[in-house]
Amino acid sequence: MKTLTLPLTKEQVKKLHAGDSVLISGVILTARDCAHKRITEYIAEGKQLPFELKDAIIYYAGPCPAKPGMASGSCGPTTSARMDSFAPALLDLGLGGMIGKGEMCPEVAEALIRNTAVYFAAIGGAGALYGSAIKKSDCIAFPDLLSEAVYRLEVENFPAVVAMDCYGGNIYR
């Protein structure tokens, strides 16, 4: 089991191989269907995004509301394939990687290689476990999208598996 502290350097990314189990600590940003649509609109219109994309890790997730006294509600990954059409452009703009579940398309695999980036699979359905790994959660963009807004999450020992690496390695193949 590897432990990773974010942000990842390119040297760290080069040491990750499909199939590696990892525990991630640091800051990640949630974004799913509606947030991606809006991020793409911002980029197309040349508007400044309300957060830094460079070296960020996007988590394809939409959390449950937090109970009083908890940092986050349940927050497992959603199916990454729905973000297939968005991911290559974001990687080319400096996105460091993504966390989601399930295989992503060959265009994403190529963009990971081109940008020395990585795609992690979180364990789909482990919402309560991931909610408990979140120590702080703040909505930093698009609050009108409710659970689909962008949340800045501070996570500790967030379990994941390297699904697609920067060499074309793919756990699903």
Binding site: S74, A121, A126
Partner: protein, 279 residues
């Protein structure tokens, strides 16, 4: 004739929704434990172990077992001797869902199909009513996540394709879904009926306990053979390979037209959440 105030149905929906969002069914827990014990593939075993741990964390903290607390599928089998009083039935069901999703800190996942604007309270429920005999109301509550719902399919087979065609349709649907629906999956299958009725049969099949079989031997054999072939695909937990791609296959059937053989395959992820109550 039995008078039944719809407030009682609202309360039952509320209780069922709160319980279902947090707890897997016993048969699902047992099937997941068996899959974990039997798994040799390391990443798949790691994931299965974490999923079992996850359901313990969910119960312990009364947190949703999965953040996709689903669309609220509500099935009401209403006895024909029941006379409903009070607020309209649909309003009672939606009110139970609305209160449970707020009080349980569940995610609100229902939106307009075109504008994508969230209704913000997880209503409306997907409500199915059937009239049955008797003076009771049987409630089945199932929150349905869409990572798996998206991988479902309906086929209008030719009658000549028969049992082999049915099994192929089931297995190919799971194969095509691959790692995306959060395997290991539970597969609900509708066989026969009409286009719309067949899809409902598949949904209804998912409300059966995992491991139960149709009381028709020929259909029970389809369930067993489809499961065997699915688990030969080697997709495994989360797509990490291994022995368990599906925890079970359940088929429900209805008579159909001489010209057709509808088959609906409704995919459920490993978070099987079903609560039943007789009112």
């Amino acid at each position: 004739m039995r008078l039944l105030n719809t407030d009682e149905i609202e309360s039952a929906v509320y209780r069922a929704a709160l319980h279902a969002g947090v707890n897997l069914t016993d048969s699902c827990r047992a099937a997941m434990s068996a899959a974990y014990e039997g798994e040799d593939e390391s990443a798949a075993k790691f994931a299965l172990g974490k999923l079992i741990e996850n359901s313990d964390v969910a119960c312990g903290n009364a947190m949703p077992v999965c953040q996709d607390t689903g669309m609220a599928v509500v099935m009401l089998d209403i006895g024909d001797e029941v006379f409903l009083t009070g607020k309209p039935l649909r309003e009672a069901v939606n009110s139970g869902v609305r209160r449970a999703y707020a009080d349980g800190y569940f995610r609100k996942s229902v939106c307009d199909p075109i504008t994508r604007k969230n209704t913000a309270d997880n209503t409306p429920a997907a409500l199915h009513t059937e009239i049955v005999s008797g003076d009771k109301v049987r409630l089945t509550f199932m929150p349905k996540g869409f990572g798996s719902e998206n991988m479902s399919a309906l086929y209008m087979l030719k009658p000549a394709q028969g049992v082999e065609g049915i099994i192929d349709a089931i297995v190919q649907t799971v194969k095509k879904a691959g790692s995306r629906p959060c395997p290991p999956v539970y597969v609900g299958v509708g066989i026969g009926g009409t286009f719309d009725g067949c899809a409902y049969l598949a949904k209804r099949a998912l409300t059966r306990d995992i491991g139960t079989h149709s009381d028709r031997e020929d259909i029970a054999e389809i369930e067993r053979e489809a499961l065997r072939r699915i688990n030969e695909l080697g997709i495994g937990c989360q797509g990490f390979h291994g022995k368990t791609t599906a925890l079970g296959v359940s088929c429900e059937w209805a008579p159909t037209h001489i010209a057709g053989l509808p088959v609906a395959v409704n995919i459920q992820c490993h978070c099987v959440r079903v609560v039943k109550e007789v009112i």
